[in-house]
């Protein structure tokens, strides 16, 4: 049987080497392979992240001292708007689902691809078009948008800046997000491998599933709201225009009906990857699997009912205030359940402090600060005091960047070897993490403090008593950005000349670690039969 032997030893061809209809860049931008699409998203998002971070860096530099430092006030307004738009719509919302979800959703459930591969490619094209429009809106028109990423009416329908195009970009991105959600939900329903029951699914899948539902339920609302802003600007239909009898508060309602759930689109996938990494690096099965799974759905559900907590001072009725405040406190319960479960998983585990684990631990810490400050804002009386101060800026960066952002970088370190077949310098990764963690807290903690003291948000200038806080914060931004650049350097170097990564460098038990590295075109040589739990590490060896 010499012939058979020859086959058995041939190395499986990875999706990176596989030759399709096209070569070069075309083999990427026209590929319907979910893995290639995931990588396309990853690179496009990292690029957008760098653009957004550059704006942020310049803003922080401006705020280093009172008065004008480097930019004009109007430029500052455009900067925080574009920073917000880019970070929210182009980075954090698509981040984990579109990059890692695309890559690992099918693999983790033992499928060959997503349910609608061509739709998947279309989503990416829409994403790129949205990104191009957003960038184009920067340089075309009278001036870049200056409304903040929330595009509040009536200012957004009056300002002479390039709001329509920026809003349209967000609309296109929303469409992309909806299609991804439809694709993921269908895939999870229809394409699980034999034996992969709902409760055999890795928790990342549950997170993606819940996220998919929020994407589908919430995104169309913001879609229509943004379209109406464009109609207002172009034709003056009047629905948000007080001079014509329209009600700007309605704009805020419609906007937050999406945008609060959207924060769960941002955080749930992050929680999902944390639930993957913690058991692997604690080498212990996850504590309370079903609690974590169902808390994702609970968050998705309750999170859809709390949008009014953004409008406590906007003049909604007092009853509405109280109800929304109560509901806001309720969402904290499923989130806290997750945190407790992660900590319980760590307890008595044999913890390995690899970089993905460090990012996970940082996530728990930073997300807890973000969550607790969120609870403070949910209390009516406190909210009036800190509304629109840099306390809010501190809070949401703790949740979005400290939470989802750190989960994203954790996931990047966790799955990088599997995606590209290369291993990075593990020690440098830990150092980079250290810079990010220290820089992050130096940057944002002072914002909580000066916000509490009364520093308003979206302000170009400030009173002298806030100087120390701003100075520390700006220094923090330098440390943080050094950390980010180190991460990118380390991974970039690994791509070019990293050593070959094994099939299972961390000893994970989920399906992506059971296939070769990088995975073959159809993910598995043979569709696997699933007969073990995703966090059952018995007999799993590091390879």
């Amino acid at each position: 049987m010499a012939h058979d032997a020859a086959i058995a030893t041939t190395h499986p061809v990875s999706f990176l080497e596989e030759r399709g209809r096209f070569t070069g860049i075309l083999s990427w931008i026209f590929s319907t392979d979910h893995k290639r699409i995931g990588i396309l998203y990853l690179f496009s998002m990292l690029a957008m992240f760098l653009v957004g971070a550059t704006f942020a860096f310049l803003m922080r530099l401006e705020l280093i001292a009172p008065g004008k430092t480097i930019i004009e006030p109007q430029t500052y307004n455009s900067f925080f708007t574009l920073h917000g738009v880019i970070m929210i719509f182009l980075f954090i919302i698509p981040s984990i689902p579109a990059a890692f979800g695309n890559f690992f959703l099918p693999i983790q459930i033992g499928a060959k691809d997503v349910a609608f591969p061509r739709l998947n490619l279309l989503s990416w094209w829409l994403y790129i078009s949205g990104a191009a429009l957003a960038i184009y809106s920067l340089v075309s028109g009278a001036a870049p948008a200056d409304t903040g990423w929330t595009f509040y009416a009536p200012y957004s329908i009056r300002t002479g800046t390039n709001v329509s195009l920026t809003v349209f970009a967000a609309f296109v991105l929303g469409f992309s997000s909806i299609l991804t959600g439809v694709n993921f939900i269908t895939t999870i329903h229809r394409m699980r491998a034999p034996g992969m029951g709902w409760f055999k699914m890795p928790l990342f899948q549950w997170a993606l599933y819940a996220t998919g539902w929020i994407q589908i339920i919430a995104t169309p609302i913001v879609g229509i709201t943004l379209l109406l802003v464009i109609f207002e600007r172009a034709f003056g239909i009047g629905v948000f225009d007080p001079t014509k009898g329209g009600d700007p508060i309605l704009y805020q309602h419609l906007f937050w009906i999406y945008s609060h759930p959207a924060v769960y689109i941002m955080i749930l996938p992050g929680m999902g990857v944390i639930s993957e990494m913690i058991p692997v690096f604690a080498r212990r099965t996850i504590f309370g699997y079903k609690f974590i799974a169902f808390s994702s759905l609970a968050i998705a559900f309750f999170g859809s009912l709390v949008w009014g907590h953004h409008m406590f001072v906007s003049g909604q009725s007092y009853t509405a205030d109280v109800v929304f405040s109560l509901l806001t406190f309720l969402v904290a319960i499923p989130s806290a359940i997750k945190v407790f479960n992660w900590v319980a998983t760590l307890y008595k585990g044999s913890i390995e402090l690899e970089s993905p684990m460090l990012f996970s631990l940082a996530f728990i810490f930073l997300f807890s600060i973000g969550g607790l400050t969120g609870l403070m804002q949910g209390a009516l009386a406190v909210n009036v005091h800190i509304h629109d101060t840099s306390f809010i800026v501190g809070h949401f960066h703790y949740v979005m960047f400290g939470g989802t952002g750190f989960a994203f970088f954790g996931a990047l370190h966790y799955w990088f070897p599997k995606m590209f077949g290369k291993m990075y310098n593990r020690k440098l990764a830990k150092i980079a993490w250290g810079f990010m963690f220290v820089g992050f807290n130096t940057l944002y903690f002072p914002l909580l403090v000066i916000g509490w003291m009364g520093m308003p948000r979206r302000y170009y200038d400030y009173l002298p008593q806030f100087h120390t806080g701003h100075l520390i914060s700006t220094i923090g931004s330098w440390i943080l950005i050094t950390g980010i650049l180190l991460v990118l350097y380390n991974l970039g170097r690994a791509l070019i000349k990293g050593e070959k990564a094994g099939q299972n460098p961390w000893g994970g038990a989920t399906l992506e670690w059971q296939t070769s590295t990088p995975p073959p075109l159809e993910n598995f040589e043979k569709i696997p039969e699933v007969n073990r739990d995703p966090y059952d590490f018995r007999g799993i060896a590091v390879q």
């Binding site: 349910a115 995104t219 229509i224 043979k526």
Partner: protein, 289 residues
Amino acid sequence: MTDFLSLQRSIPLTKSIAIRKTWRRSLQMVGTTEFAVAKHSDYTGAKIGMWLFLFTELLLFGGMFVLYSVYRYKYAHDFHIAAYELNQLMGAINTVILLTSSLTMALSIAALQRANRKLSNIFLIITIVLGVLFLVNKYFEWSAKIEHGIYPNSPLLARSFNNGETLFFGLYYAMTGLHGLHVVIGIGILTFMLYFINRQPTTQFAIEPAQVDELRGSQLKIEDRQGRKLWDGATIGNSVRRISITFKHYATDETFDRTNITKLENSGLYWHLVDIIWIFLFPLFYLIT
């Protein structure tokens, strides 16, 4: 045991296709396995995806219905008055047109399910024509309004209409405009379907990588029923990862690509959705006076 691997499919092909599996060295025949090669299509999956998408479309309009309800509540009297400006007859005609088109759409699907491609085409074309008629009607309706100076931001609205009436017309244009856009998209989809149903269908067989291993060293051939060789293909060497065989047929009632039925059903769902939205718009704007 047969000595060839036959690829079976519901559509009868005139020539049987066989991949003869031989050992390369000895050229001796060996027994083969039968491979059931299923075409990659998941009917339920396609339906789930479509319904989810329709759900998002409903929500998209839902946002505007919310605005409508709020302003109707706030400016009940103004809305009442403003509705008199709209032409009920035109609206009614358009309602009949769309309802009929939903019927012809359903008939077209039913015909295709019964493999009657020609009838299906006829109904599909009628549906498209009705869609266009709807738009033409809408065009005349809108231009009449615009001629009378009733359009968003118009001087007339600002001068002699109340806020509530202005909002009524703002919503009227936004909602029927977006609905009209959906009709246009629907017509586009149906036109594509017309093309899909009638183009030369292809069938593709893909052989899984795991199964390709078992076929290594064999050769791809086409023979007729008498075993006469019609075409000799390449040998499946070690470099081959996947095998896919594509057939092109003439589009007849027997051979047209049956996955088009699912596609047509889904297009039909979309068309019905557009119809249903109109069913709500019509009374809300034209009838409640």
